[in-house]
């Protein structure tokens, strides 16, 4: 029944990537992390708050995302799964894996951090996962533990 429900909204794709089990409401942030904007050429379908607000789904046609591109999604949605589709078949499926460091994805929340100046340095964080995901700024040491999506670049 649920499959049918989703099927009505967005058709199956022939080639590309389906990101499933995105935390409800985070699909647009997923697009931001992947660098998909109004100027991108890919055909993208976004489904939000399906199955009683439990999850979002993003389908990107004719583009197979590489693990290093998609693992950043784990920052905001650690349970997301990546499905690579060829000829309507799922040829690879895996969960996003939280990287140990990220660079240039999130800005530091400390306004006085050197990464928030004109200096030629990209924000870089070491990622710790306890109960929640924590980002430790490599430069100033400030920790982001809540509302990470607010700090996406």
């Amino acid at each position: 029944m649920k499959q049918g429900e989703i099927g009505l909204r967005v058709r199956r794709i022939k080639h590309g990537t389906v990101i499933d089990h995105i935390a409800a409401g985070q699909a647009l942030n997923v697009l931001r992390i992947l660098g998909i904007t109004d100027r991108s050429n890919e055909v993208v379908s976004v489904v939000m708050n399906v199955s009683d607000r439990k999850k979002d789904i993003v389908k990107i046609e004719d583009r197979e995302l590489k693990p290093e591109e998609v693992d950043k999604i784990a920052l905001i949605s650690p349970d997301a799964t990546i499905n690579i589709i060829r000829d309507y078949e799922v040829v690879a499926k895996h969960r996003v894996i939280l990287p140990s460091q990220i660079e240039g994805v999130v800005r530091c929340m400390n306004p006085n951090c050197i990464t928030n100046t004109d200096e030629p340095v990209r924000p870089r964080f070491v990622i710790h996962r306890n109960d929640a995901v924590e980002l430790h700024c490599v430069y100033c040491g400030r920790v982001i533990s809540e509302r990470i999506a607010d700090f996406l670049i």
């Binding site: 951090c113 050197i114 200096e119 030629p120 340095v121 430069y139 100033c140």
Partner: protein, 301 residues
């Protein structure tokens, strides 16, 4: 081999002990001596913010080791006034000098500088961030004038904003210290740092009343309580007054108590205390020279 000195938490207890051992070896030279340990070497001191003690003690340390010091003079007449960024300045200066001492108003500046520098960078304070050489000289003072392992220490004053006490508390957790945190309610040590201390197995006790603990500690470490932290000047007067150390406050303290302060002081210690055997703060200031000599010799040798 130590390369950059950016954050005290980058250093292991073993590395800290080696720096303190080296400082002890070099201390006789720091007392009006001279040497040629770093002769022919050049240290660049880049101070983007004013500093007296830190800057002069680095200068003195380098000169006691027989080396030379260069700086860019007043900021207004330097290339920084023309808008040069820190990364470019560091790339250029690291071609002129064998090591760089940096004080900068932005947190993380020293870490970034170390990525652009071809020579060792020593952090002499980055905004409200780190000031590792202060921590090392504090540890040296304790080791020399009291003891470090299992020391009972009270950190007193502004524990919320004071970077000195944050770094010191982290370092003390390597030495199984018993830490008493004494501050007014609005200036308590941040939870994140207390959490780190507890996770490292350090025993901490918080209180607002200095009289609760003054008679049991080996070290009384005082910091400045800044007027700006209080919206109401009357409240500031009252709070600051309650932490003021006088000979009367010290009536029942341990015979070998030492009193430390990173200076400058703003009334936390009455001048009458200066003559007491407990007053170590001017010696503490002096120990900045042998400790910085140790660091300079270890990064440039």
């Amino acid at each position: 081999m130590i390369r950059h000195v950016i954050n005290i938490t980058d250093l292991s207890r073993d590395e800290i002990d080696r720096i303190l051992d080296r400082a002890a070896e070099l201390e006789p030279i720091a007392h009006r001596g001279s040497s040629n340990i770093l002769s022919g070497r050049i240290l660049a001191t880049l101070f983007y913010e004013p500093s007296t003690r830190t800057r002069l003690s680095f200068d003195a340390a380098m000169k006691r080791l027989g080396g030379d010091v260069i700086d860019f003079g007043p900021i207004e007449s330097s290339s920084i006034a023309k808008g040069e960024n820190l990364a470019d300045t560091i790339s250029v200066i690291s071609g002129y000098a064998d090591a760089i001492v940096l004080r900068h108003p932005k947190e993380g500046a020293a870490r970034m500088a170390s990525e652009f520098s071809s020579v060792p960078v020593i952090n002499a304070g980055d905004g409200a961030g780190q000031h590792p050489t202060q921590t090392l000289l504090d540890l040296y003072t304790m080791r020399k004038e009291s003891h470090l392992s299992n020391v009972k220490i009270a950190l007193v004053g502004d524990l919320r904003y004071g970077r000195t006490v944050h770094s010191l508390a982290h370092a003390l957790s390597l030495y199984n210290a018993r830490i008493y945190l004494v501050s007014p309610d609005q200036l308590q040590m941040p939870d994140s740092i207390k959490g780190d201390l507890i996770n490292s197995g350090t025993k901490i006790t918080e209180t607002t009343d200095i009289d609760d603990i003054i008679d049991v500690v080996d070290v009384l470490y005082l910091t400045r309580i800044q007027k700006e932290r209080f919206p109401d000047p009357g409240e500031y007067q009252m709070v600051a007054g309650s932490y003021r150390i006088t000979n009367e406050t010290l009536r029942n303290v341990k015979d070998d108590l030492i009193i430390m302060h990173p200076l400058p002081r703003a009334g936390e210690i009455d001048c009458e205390v200066d003559a007491s055997k407990h007053a170590i703060y001017f010696k503490q200031s002096f120990y900045g020279v042998p400790v910085r000599m140790a660091i300079l010799s270890m990064v440039m040798e």
